[in-house]
């Protein structure tokens, strides 16, 4: 026991620490370089050194003539991501509840749905695009691309809902029925509120997966670009730090989405287990 408390660490600790340090460096190093370079001065280039600091390239980003239709692509991506989010949450919850009943052929339907996780995204996109062409329907970012993206987000959403529902105690529903609730009331007043934190997790996945989806969207979005495709285009056309400014802005959006999701989950958890002293004294004078 005393030997453990002397504070001498084994060699493996230092070896693993160096390994972890390298991992962090490779993960965040290149990204940090992009974030820093996005604040280049107006005369700066795509590489270090920094020639002063400015927000010049963020300004350039939003002036369409120089960098393409960034604002339009951003708007489309946001709308698409929100549509994907809502559909993913709704369908995942319904599917999760359905699969609890272990209907005939459940396993087959499950594998059918989850198989799209391992299908090459580009081929899924190609298939959807071809189907639309064959049917003589124009591919649009809000129609064909929406469908192609759902093949990617739904398996994730369903798997999360399965995990959430596997911990959902059926006694809650029975208790509610025992207390006179109708099926609809049980769903609305008991099942949905209890599943809500899990639904936020599904929403976060739906949003972020859609927001940076590329292979399935490439051949299905039609004439108008979504943001990842716009970025792809810019990497070939734009030779200014505006490209880096774009990287910084999109990362910021992702972080905001994650913060919103985790924040709301944290608030729910806190509300359900907040320290009791101030709660009861505030509302219960007796």
């Amino acid at each position: 026991m005393q030997k453990l408390q002397t504070g001498k660490r084994p060699l493996s600790f230092y070896a693993l620490s160096i390994f972890f340090g390298l991992f962090v460096l490779f993960l965040y190093g290149p990204m940090s370089a992009i974030y820093i370079l996005s604040f280049q001065g107006p005369t700066g280039g795509l590489t270090f050194p920094m020639r002063g600091w400015s927000l010049h390239w963020f300004d350039a980003l939003f002036s369409q003539q120089r960098t393409g239709d960034f604002a339009g692509a951003f708007t489309r991506s946001m709308i698409l991501a929100v549509m994907v989010l809502l559909l993913t949450v709704a369908i995942s919850v319904i599917a999760g509840l359905a699969f609890r009943r272990r209907f005939v052929g459940a396993a087959f339907v499950f594998y059918l749905a989850v198989a799209s996780l391992i299908m090459p995204g580009l081929l899924v996109g190609l298939g959807v695009g071809l189907t639309f062409q064959t049917l003589g329907v124009q591919t649009k970012w809000f129609a064909s691309a929406l469908g192609a993206q759902l093949t990617w987000t739904l398996p994730f959403g369903m798997l999360i809902m399965f995990a959430v529902l596997s911990r959902f105690n059926r006694a809650y529903e029975e208790a509610a029925r025992d207390l006179g609730a109708t099926n609809w009331q049980i769903f609305l007043w008991v099942v949905l509120p209890i599943l809500f934190p899990g639904m936020i997790a599904v929403a976060l996945f739906g949003f972020t997966l859609s927001y940076d989806e590329f292979p399935r969207t490439l051949l299905t979005s039609g004439a108008a670009n979504t943001l990842p495709m716009e970025i792809w285009g810019m990497t070939t056309n734009v030779t200014s730090p505006a490209l880096y400014a774009l990287g910084t802005v999109t990362t910021l959006v992702s972080f905001i989405a994650i913060a919103l999701a985790l924040g709301s989950i944290a608030i729910i958890q806190w509300r359900r287990s907040r320290p009791v002293a101030n709660v009861s004294s505030a509302k219960e004078p007796e």
Binding site: A176, L179, G180, A181, R272, S273, K283
Partner: protein, 394 residues
């Protein structure tokens, strides 16, 4: 003592008539007939998988019987919703809604009935007051201890104004100390509300401490339904005697009958006991399987010259094979020449006047009128009949 006697016309009487429940191939409950008087505290007692929870859930309306009828106050309720039956169920883990405050949990039933918010909250607070939980009205279930959660669950059930409250192992989630405390509270609340309580448990002492009526079950059948005292003191079958504990069960084949005594034998082991008077039992004959019980605390121990000494009628000879101090008494296990166990509970003052040691030869005797003749159960006779002396589980 027995509320069922004081209030013969109490609401919430229950009758199961020929109830069978199958889950696919397995039969959970097998053709059960049972009458529970209104206002009675009834415990369904049995090992896990004996069908007690299935019976509770069929009364509650969370399962439908495959065959038979469930009657509450004389009316068949099969196919009716729980609220229409006037039953309320308290679930094993309480199943309090984690996202609702205590008040809103208790008010849930009123919400389903469309009672307006201020009124239902006021009524929920009144109910919380009755279970002494008013100061916890705004807390969420996760902020409560197990005992407090149970009171909230009780309040949530009682606000439906049920005729029958069904409790599924209500004390199993609590630690030992709290279990004894809440057990008393359950009894008090039952007396206060005057409704029928049906309480499922696998703990013998819990059942006999609480219940007016104990229903002992095994393998989907009722072994005995009687008062707590009868079930403990006068078990109907060897199974009940084993399960309730506190009894030595002697089982075997009658090999001879002479001058009012039986010799029952199994293997190379024989015991002579006083035969039941012809009026008390359907006069068993030589060759019949026979089971009899003797309470452990009615057995007297005397030192024997040797383990092989002839015990005579209503006695067993053996060696002390276990001594457990229990405070006011000692549990003395005796092993006879064939290695069979027998237990005597000896008062502490008697024991310490002349303490026995491990291995001492002793004779365990009992009076003829301490013999309690058991009803042989066809399905079980073969299983238990092979042992002449079988001590009940501790």
């Amino acid at each position: 003592m027995n509320p069922a006697d004081q209030r013969p016309a109490a609401r919430g009487s229950i009758e199961l008539a020929g109830v069978t429940k199958r889950f696919g191939e397995t039969i959970a409950v097998r053709n059960i007939d049972l009458k529970i008087p209104g206002g009675c505290y009834c415990c369904l007692l049995g090992p896990s998988g004996c069908g007690k929870t299935t019976i509770l859930r069929m009364i509650a309306g969370h399962e439908s019987p495959t065959e038979g009828a469930v009657l509450i106050d004389g009316e068949n309720v099969v196919g009716k919703l729980p609220v229409e039956r006037g039953t309320a169920m308290m679930f094993q883990s309480y199943a309090l809604f984690p996202h609702l405050s205590c008040t809103d949990n208790v008010a849930f039933n009123l919400k389903t009935r469309g009672v307006e918010k201020t009124e239902r909250r006021a009524r929920a607070r009144d109910m919380l007051d009755r279970v002494r939980m008013k100061s916890f009205a705004d807390r969420l279930p996760a902020q409560l201890s197990g005992g407090q959660q149970q009171r909230i669950a009780l309040a949530r059930s009682l606000i439906t104004n049920p005729r029958v409250l069904l409790l599924d192992e209500p004390l199993s989630a609590l630690d030992e100390f709290l279990r004894l405390q809440m057990r008393g509270e359950l009894r008090n609340i039952q007396a206060e509300f005057g409704i029928t309580f049906i309480h499922v448990t696998h703990t013998q002492m819990e059942a006999i401490a609480l219940a007016d009526m104990v229903v002992v079950m095994d393998q989907g059948q009722i072994e005995q339904a009687a008062s707590a005292r009868d079930v403990y003191d006068r078990p109907r079958t060897g199974y009940v005697a084993h399960f309730m504990g506190g009894q030595n069960v002697l089982a075997g084949t009658i090999t001879s009958r002479q001058s009012g005594n039986f010799t029952i034998a199994s293997g190379n082991k024989k015991i002579d006991i006083t035969a039941p008077r012809s009026a008390t039992a359907s006069s068993p004959a030589v060759g019949d399987q026979f089971e009899v019980a003797v309470r452990r605390d009615r057995v007297r121990l005397t030192r024997a010259p040797s383990q092989a000494a002839d015990a005579g009628v209503n006695a067993v000879t053996g060696r002390v094979s276990g001594i457990e101090y229990q405070g006011t008494w000692l549990k003395i296990s005796i092993e006879d020449a064939c290695g069979e166990g027998f237990v005597a509970n000896v008062p502490d003052d008697q024991f310490f006047a002349d303490p026995l040691k491990m291995g001492d030869p002793v004779i365990a005797r009992w009076d003829a009128d301490e013999l309690h003749y058991l009803v042989a159960r066809p399905g079980r006779a073969a299983a238990n009949g092979s042992t002449v002396v079988a001590a009940a589980g501790s």
